[in-house]
Amino acid sequence: MTAYISLMIAIPLIGAILAFLTKTRQQARAVALVSSGISLLISIIMLSRFDSSLAGIQLDEIHSWIPSLGITLSFGVDGIGMPLVLLSCIVIPLTVIFAWGETKEPNKFYGLILLELVGVLGVFTSLDFFVFYIFWEIVLIPMYFLISIWGGPRKDYAAIKFFIYTHIASLVMLLAIFALYFNAWQITRTPDFNMFHLLKNYSLLDGWLITNVISIKDAIFIGLLFGFIVKMPAVPFHTWLPDAHVEAPTAGSVILAALLLKMGGYGLFRVILPLLPFSDSPGKMITLMAIIGVLSILYGTFLALAQRDLKKMVAYSSISHMGYVTLGAAALVPLSVSGAMFQQFSHGLITCVLFMSCGVIQHSAGTRIIGDLGGIAKYMPKLTFVMLAGFLASLGLPGMSGFIAELLVLLNSYANLPTFVILALFGIVFTAGYHLWAMQRAVFGTFNEKLGHIHDGANYEIASMAVLVLLIIFFGLYPNPVLNMMTTTATPLVRDAAGLVGVIV
């Protein structure tokens, strides 16, 4: 048994407490950088120990916690969790570097960022459904404060909307988790919250509680699905996201888009796909997910096209990109599923660059309204360079990670969901459109004199963005380090569902 994961989670937790106690900005940010850096180091060691040719859980550890309720602290990673652990450990230190100049209550600011790292790492590694839920909820609280203390003018509204929306979704999910738990209890008569144990027993569920409207199995399935897609977020449950992003500070937006949204996608792979073949109406559920996926892609794209605020545009582009994850998962082809997982990883890196660009522009020019900007490339050459790279990656330029992910999803989903893929393809044109159009209006062209004197981003800001761009290109050219393990895990995941292809509408 190894202890990498508990160490990786414990260190930022200790770091967060230390950061809260620090008196000066210098101490707080140093604590944040060091502790998140150690987590990054541990995640790299984990990656080197991880065997990509094995599909099961690796590097697992179990600690006893509440035996009488069957709750254990059990952690482990497989091809679903490992890339996201790596992503979290890359994004948080870079966010800390990007936000190196934070002056408002820095001790709390960096402490909350570290708490976010604790939360997402816990979600991506917990194998106990109960502990999973605790971490799932832990993530909410620091984000609420990040928005409501460091946010923009309408921060109160945005923070509470974010909290209520995602909390209600979590509660619905909790009810479904309890239903799974008590189902397993009824079968085995022992309390056990182990995730795989609960998922396995779902197929044996014979509903003693039958309603006329919906079978209990489908109700549990939809409850879990609801919890995850609100977090992703998918249309029509996306309305909290633009508000939260517009009001959140840049670091908050980065964490929200790069890590918190990925929790929803993680849930799809970890929980929804294993349950899908055993629900009472799998065909309908697949259709439902495919519709949600395509709707998110198209609706997100068109909304992004219509935005005047650069950051809001990026927020809607996230919704659109996360639509590929749902679509790829619903297609149930090994490569479409691993493509969807890779889309999560890739979007996590790309969206950071986009939100950081918005933050730098806001800080320098004092506005993010696309129409009020213009020609800032002249005064912000460094920013323009990394921002352009980020935008090109986001629209799916070959050679960058986004291209591989979306190509895998679209190519492989076609086998099972041809109609939906053709619909999704329309989105690609407009995706390229809004990215280039926004760049053209905001960054290039003639300089808008009303902006006055503007300066380029600070070195630490540009540096963290540059690192992300390099990673995007690296994984675009050589995705195997993470893609292999995703494919290995995805293959057995969809094996049970192979017989379902015929029933898809």
């Binding site: 509440i66 035996p67 203390i149 109160d156 909290f163 009824q186």
Partner: protein, 486 residues
């Protein structure tokens, strides 16, 4: 028969008498020392209670020492200890301190007697000792009209409930021919259910219901908790209220085996109404003490779920939630006392010191208090890892298990109502948290008095400690529940 098992009670009784005696001998100025003496005595008594192993029964089986009595004694001692430590500052330089500490110690002894009572008479005497002392404590700020109103209301309603209880007891005695709970149980196991049994039950449920502040017997609680000195509110809400529960556990669970089904329905309705009413009304409160009062009503509603299914696990869940509530609610009232101190040091003539507006920016003005209150609120809302969560979880878990095993839809509906209530309660706690951390402060940072800080930290350690390492406490509660043999 070894009376060593009763050492905690004996110690506190002697100490209470000693405190009033010392109060007569020393000057007004040196009366501050009485608080430290009382706190030390309570701590010693708590240690004795925890360390002591063994069971026994005393005085012709009227007083028993068993796991159930022990865990409730721990609850009462913890709450009194927290309240007394905080009182060291709250009643500093008050010349009636000797009476105050004597009363609080006697109230604790009364509660402990209730926890141990195995005879209806001992039970009643314990109730009265605790109630009489707390009537006076509630009105201890005798120049404050709100405090007097609180005391008077508490006294009248308390007397009424005692009368109801006593009448119920006398009916039980009349039917069964004994005041000893074990003998009453033997009688009820064999006897036919008569109309008189049901009547006795109604009076007992009403009597205990007043003490537990279940809706519709709750109306004294908000006014009393709001008007009493805040440290006394802490004792009332977190401690003396639990007397009703331990008495109900012993009397109702044991003796009413005969009329089991009816009692379950009664408590199901009471529990659902109580938790829903408490949570809904708490939302609109401006006074934090009132909000906490309604939240304790809601918590009493959750605890009453234990009576609905009456399994070993559900009673353990009720005991756990009662224990958690002692830490959370006790601590929360102390935090409100700190805010009161803070507001009064800004402006001596402030009327409503616990108004929510005074909590604005508390995170900056009194960081330790704000953080403690943050912990208590999240725990009260049932967010893990906290004592509040463990209690709620075991309780809801036991009811669901019962629902699943007996395929009973109405039990499941009750659990879902309870979970929704729990979700609803987050709203009003989060509102205060928003005031504390998001809104700008309205005054300078204050120096938080040490006694308050110690009291709150004790409560925080209890709240989080049970949440992080619940296994021993769960086992303790399961043992306590096994005493009832359900």
């Amino acid at each position: 028969m070894s009376y060593v098992l009763l050492a905690p009670e004996i110690l506190l009784t002697v100490l209470a008498l000693a405190v009033i005696l010392i109060g007569l001998l020393v000057s007004d100025k040196s009366k501050n020392i009485l608080g430290y003496i009382s706190a030390a005595g309570l701590a010693a008594s708590l240690i004795l209670t925890i360390a002591k192993t063994g069971e026994g029964s005393f005085f012709y089986n009227a007083i028993v020492v068993d796991p159930l009595s022990q865990i409730f004694k721990i609850i009462f001692l913890v709450v009194s200890l927290i309240a007394v430590i905080a009182s060291i500052h709250y009643f500093k330089d008050n010349r009636n301190q000797d009476e105050y500490y004597t009363l609080i110690l006697l109230a604790t002894v009364g509660m402990m007697v209730v926890a141990s009572a195995n005879d209806l008479l001992a039970l009643f005497v314990g109730f009265e000792l605790a109630s009489m002392s707390t009537y006076v404590l509630a009105g201890f700020e005798k120049k404050n009209p709100a405090s007097l109103e609180a005391a008077l209301k508490y006294f009248i309603i308390g007397s009424l409930s005692s009368a109801l209880m006593l009448f119920g007891m006398s009916l039980v005695y009349g039917v069964s021919g004994s005041t000893n709970i074990s003998e009453i149980l033997t009688y009820f196991k064999t006897a036919q259910v008569s109309g008189l049994d049901i009547l006795a039950m109604v009076f007992l449920v009403a009597g205990f219901g007043f003490k537990m502040a279940l809706v519709p017997f709750h109306m004294w609680a908000p006014d009393t908790y709001e008007g009493s000195p805040t440290v006394v509110s802490s004792l009332l809400a977190a401690g003396s209220k639990k007397m009703g529960f331990v008495a109900a556990f012993r009397v109702l669970v044991l003796a009413m085996v005969a009329v089991r089904a009816d009692i379950q329905i009664v408590f199901a309705i009471l529990a659902v109404i109580t938790m829903t009413y408490g949570n809904v009304v708490a939302i609109s409160q401006k006074s934090i003490k009132r909000m906490l009062a309604y939240s304790s009503i809601a918590q009493a509603g959750y605890i009453s779920l234990a009576f609905v299914v009456m399994t070993q696990m559900s009673i353990a869940g009720g005991v756990l939630l009662a224990l958690g509530h002692a830490f959370m609610k006790g601590g929360a009232f102390i935090a409100v006392a700190v805010v009161g101190y803070m507001v009064l040091s800004d402006n001596k003539n402030t009327k409503n010191t616990d108004d929510i507006s005074n909590f604005a920016g508390l995170g900056k003005r009194a960081p330790i208090t704000a953080l403690s209150l943050f912990v208590f609120f999240l725990a009260l809302a049932g967010i893990p890892p906290s004592a509040g969560f463990i209690g709620k979880f075991v309780l809801f878990y036991s009811v669901t298990i019962q629902a699943v095993s007996t395929a009973s839809t109405w039990l499941l509906v009750i659990v879902i109502i309870a979970i929704l209530n729990s979700a609803l309660s987050i709203y009003y706690y989060a509102r205060v948290i928003r005031y504390m951390y998001v809104l700008p402060p309205v005054g300078e940072k204050i120096h938080e008095p040490l006694p308050y800080v110690i009291a709150m930290l004790l409560a925080v350690i209890g709240t989080i400690g049970i949440g992080l390492y619940p296994e021993p406490v769960i086992n303790m509660a399961m043992n306590a529940a096994s005493v009832l043999g359900v």
